[in-house]
């Protein structure tokens, strides 16, 4: 993980801090297109959410099926490699099935969900689509602890069992979801914590646990829970090693919401990050001037599966 860090540059400015401009990052090619299909609307209001999603957050409204199709058609014509649906909770969208089928006509699709709304019928449908679609369908289900106490403290009362209910139904219908863990509990980031998660999932009956661990971003609701970024936690020119810029997902992704296009999934509540109304507006360089960019660089975070 540390190979992409320019230790010399980091040491040089460790003290005293220098006023250097933020690095600029070019788009190498738009490989990954994110779609904020349900905006900031979610059936949960997790305490670590970096965009403060919840049942009443209308900052970004749901996307229409037509706008999703427009983005997918644009993506097909521009050689995009993969699609991600997120929110909010994507399965709150009344036309989520149509959206899923539309995406899978053009490329592989990952859906980020808490799994709670995936009932028996939806799980059966997803299993069928997984087996028959031309391109790969992957579900990513978020779970933030190995016990109800650990998870529910972050994601809300009784969500541990509800989330595992969705995971169980997917598994029963032949879909092996990637269980995504945000490492708010520090021990989950270490090897023992990861092993514990692996064993808990396997004990549940998923014989091939697929896990992804993500560092928390200290913005949105997470900033109120655990504090925000320190002043020095910013990227400046020289931090990126030339030739290794592709370690940052924003060198090859953009995010479309009902409001317009953003560099990445993390910054959609940062008004200054809005790049324009259409994807054509968003093929330009970006400034890595937000403290969340520091987390992606230093922690080696990628939102990709």
């Amino acid at each position: 993980m540390a190979q992409h860090l320019n230790f010399e540059a980091l040491l040089e400015r460790a003290a005293p801090p220098k006023e250097l401009p933020a690095p600029t990052l070019a788009l190498s090619h738009l490989d990954t297109l994110w779609l904020q299909v349900t905006g900031t609307l979610c059936n949960l209001a997790c305490l670590h959410c970096f965009i403060s999603c919840g049942p009443k957050n209308h900052n970004h409204e749901m996307m229409t099926l037509e706008s999703v199709q427009d983005a997918l058609n644009w993506a097909r014509d521009h050689g995009v490699k993969e699609f991600y649906f997120t929110g909010g909770e994507p399965f709150m969208h009344p036309q989520i099935k149509e959206m899923i089928l539309a995406a899978l006509e053009h490329g592989p699709l990952n859906i980020l969900t808490n799994g709670i709304l995936i009932d028996e019928s939806m799980a059966a449908w997803l299993g069928e689509v997984f087996r028959t679609s031309r391109y790969n369908l992957d579900l990513r289900v978020s779970l933030d602890g190995t016990t109800p106490e650990e998870n529910d403290a972050i994601r809300g009362r009784k969500t541990y069992e509800k989330i595992f209910g969705g995971i169980d139904r997917l598994w029963a219908h032949g879909v092996n979801p990637v269980i995504t863990v945000t490492t708010c509990h520090a021990d989950l980031a270490a090897e023992d914590g990861r092993r514990r998660f692996y064993e808990v999932v396997r004990a549940r009956g998923l014989s091939q646990p697929r896990l992804k661990f993500l560092s928390p971003f200290k913005i949105g609701r997470e900033e109120h829970r655990a504090g925000g970024y320190e002043a020095h936690e910013r990227l400046v020119e020289g931090d990126l090693i030339p030739g290794q810029e592709d370690a940052l997902q924003c060198s090859s992704c953009r995010m479309v919401t009902a409001k317009g296009v953003y560099p990445c999934p993390i910054l959609i509540e940062v008004d200054e990050a809005l790049m324009g109304a259409s994807l054509d507006d968003a093929l330009v360089d970006i400034k890595l001037d937000h403290p969340a960019c520091y987390t992606c660089h230093v922690e080696g975070v990628t939102c990709r599966t």
């Binding site: 090619h29 490989d31 993506a75 097909r76 014509d77 521009h78 050689g79 995009v80 490699k81 993969e82 053009h106 490329g107 592989p108 997984f130 391109y135 790969n136 369908l137 992957d138 032949g174 879909v175 092996n176 090897e191 990861r194 091939q208 697929r210 896990l211 592709d246 990628t302």
Partner: protein
């Protein structure tokens, strides 16, 4: 660039130290009339006795070898294979085979790996043909069948003026004729079975006739039981041996897309 046609060409990749399947593949290709054989790299990893594969490939007048990420790492004496895995479980087993391969590859073979070319471009049957290890844009890019859409491939080939692309790196073969008529072939790997429950390994024969270029996947049996016993004798992980004997991947499964993984056991 001169045009080559009315002949047969063999394209293979992912030798992974499997010198026994390499012998079988080379014999099959030559018996099939291949006038040239192209190896798309990754000579090391997984299997036993790395020098035995390299010795079969170097200094052969009809074999052209490209550098894969594994060969680049070994040749430049790097600390890992740079395979592109992101999960610690994948990296754990990748490191075991890299350390074994590094310790058992002679210095002059590492130098040879270091100096290999990184791609081939030819004109075959009037078509612009490119061969790359992972993809034309990155040596360790994984182009899986289920996660590589037509639109992306059309863009990738058109932007480089390519009519046919041959790649490896993932270890699972597939081929696709795009709407434009362009052809993309992942030749799979000859060093490890393709997570399909078969102990055979895969490579591709390319038939050039007039202005027609056709490719066909070939499944090659070899003495996999002998390979398994030699791997055990070398102290390689039993997980690797199981893959050789069953045809199912036991390691490096986290990098698999869900679809390709669901075809296997693990």
């Amino acid at each position: 660039m001169p045009n080559l046609t009315d002949t047969t060409i063999a394209v293979f990749g992912g030798v992974y130290n499997n010198y026994l399947s390499l012998e079988a593949t080379l014999a099959h290709a030559r018996q099939s009339g291949a006038s040239a054989l192209y190896c798309l790299g990754d000579l090391g990893g997984f299997g036993p006795h790395p020098d035995r594969s390299i010795a079969q490939l170097r200094d052969q007048h009809d074999i052209h070898v490209m550098q894969g990420n594994y060969d680049h790492s070994l040749g430049n004496r790097l600390g890992d294979c740079a395979c592109g895995y992101t999960d610690p479980r994948d990296n754990y087993f990748a490191q075991l085979s890299y350390d074994y391969t590094f310790a058992n590859t002679s210095e002059h073979h590492k130098d040879w790996l270091r100096d290999l070319p990184t791609g081939f471009r030819h004109r075959w049957a009037g078509k612009e043909v490119l061969m790359a290890h992972g993809s034309p844009r990155r040596i360790n890019e994984f182009l899986w069948e289920s996660t590589t859409p037509d639109g992306f491939l059309e863009h990738l080939l058109a932007s480089r003026n390519i009519d046919a692309l041959f790649i490896t790196h993932t270890g699972i073969p597939w081929m696709r004729r795009l709407d434009s008529g362009r052809l993309v072939v992942n030749v799979g790997a000859i060093g490890r079975p393709a997570n399909n429950g078969l102990t055979t390994v895969d490579y591709v024969l390319v038939e050039l006739q007039g202005d027609t270029l056709d490719a066909s996947l070939q499944a090659i049996p070899y003495d996999h039981e002998r390979l398994a016993s030699e791997m055990r004798a070398e102290g390689l992980p039993e997980e690797f041996v199981e893959t050789v004997l069953t045809g199912y991947w036991t390691t490096c499964t986290e990098v698999l897309p869900a679809r390709e993984r669901a075809r296997g056991k693990y």
